[in-house]
Symmetry: C2
Subunit: 254 residues, 2 copies
């Protein structure tokens, strides 16, 4: 039995706790949250605490708080020689306090409040300060996900930037497309099959092979028509020009 | 029985022909292609021709050629009072020659050579010069797709620009993410679940509601760290800055 204690009870913590509760070899022992009144989840299976002194030793402490609080919160744990891991994509392992053994347990996914998540398909990126801690972290990762990766802090930083492009910026492309539809009385649903197909394509083709469109085929006539179409929307027009240029330069590189 | 003749035999034509061949109420009658040696498809079900004078009347002529050739090719059809539709997202109905009744039959999807397409889920955007032609065009659209939309030329132009953002530019975001992975020895497959979840999210949330990330939550510290991370790649850094700015301005708008 591996015992887990969560520090923090936000979106990521709640999703992880739900995933771990289904596993017979893992016990969520305590959940620390500063404001005890926010303990909405029925605490039948574990104990909610709000006082650092109530914290008891556990195999792993999972610090699931905002990036800015990882250093502070990890330094407040009044225990020694514990394995303390954070869940952030962008914060280095060494940001956490060195009074305990440090590690990272980063689920690479976009969590939406209230939406169920199938952890089996979510890659978990793990890292530990001491190689002797890797096994136990691997075990809890494999308990909830089929996809565990050992990723160091520098790689994780890169992965987080890549994820901004692939998740945040892609979603913003959907947003810009939906605005163009709305301004022209076109239901956005028309574009949903295209969104699904675009995402599906890169599971069997590289993004480079999958690239199509006026920029890729250097169709300057269509590009000019589109730039003209966007003339009353300066930021969309700038984005169109810059991404077209980037696709074209990409074509030259390879 | 509705008779169809295709002018052109590229990617779009071949996908459409395959879809129509399965339908008992539609007959593909002739396929015109300039270069007869390219008639690779076993022409058991229809006739390949390369001489305009062999063209016989049909209920609908589908001109599936590159945008730049629609005007020229449609003017070469040596028949009168036929319904001639093109398949382009970016070319107006009135670009085709007015010697016949004009229309548009635009399947909104990204076609990859050799990859099977399920037309049932592909929106077909139709438009006709004369309302009396709308019925027959609707019929052939509904024969292959569950999603038929009547879209005028101005809307179709907007839709095509929106599709560039949603398909071409989204795929380019995947490309930039994959380059960052490659430079840091991270397998791109780690990001595949995130690609799928990002696309799936907007089937039940608006892109605005689905937006997450440092730009959305004005996390300037992470944004600065990412901009610094990209310092040796000028175009990626420009794209990061511009899209971050666009997401932030979007947040202010609503």
């Amino acid at each position: 039995m591996i015992t887990l204690t969560f520090i923090g009870y936000g979106n990521v913590a709640q999703h992880l706790i739900k995933a771990f509760l289904n596993n017979s070899e893992i016990k969520v022992q305590q959940v620390f949250l500063r404001d005890a009144s926010k303990a909405i989840y029925p605490a039948i299976d574990f104990e909610f605490i709000s006082d650092w002194n109530q914290l008891t030793p556990a195999d792993i402490f999972i610090v699931a708080v905002s990036d800015d609080y990882i250093a502070e919160v990890s330094s407040q744990i009044p225990l020694k020689n514990q394995l303390v891991v954070h869940t952030s994509g962008s914060v280095g392992l060494d940001t956490a306090s060195d009074q305990n053994r440090r590690g990272v347990f980063y689920p690479l996914q976009t969590f939406t409040k209230g939406k169920k998540v199938d952890f089996k398909e979510i890659p978990i990126c793990i890292e530990t300060e001491f190689s002797s801690d890797l096994d136990v972290l691997k075990k809890i990762a494999k308990a909830i996900s089929n996809k565990t990766h050992i990723i160091n802090s520098q790689q994780r930083k890169a992965l987080h930037v890549a994820a901004v492009f692939i998740n945040n910026f892609t979603n913003h492309m959907y947003q810009l497309g939906s605005e163009i539809c709305q301004e022209n009385q076109i239901p956005f649903a028309i574009l949903e099959p295209l969104i699904a197909e675009t995402a599906a394509k890169v599971t069997h083709l590289s993004p480079f092979e999958a690239q199509t469109g006026p920029a890729k085929r250097n169709d300057q006539k269509t590009i000019n028509a589109h730039i003209d179409f966007l003339k009353s929307d300066a930021i969309k027009q700038s984005i169109y020009k810059l991404l077209t240029q980037s696709i074209q330069e990409n074509g030259k590189k390879l």
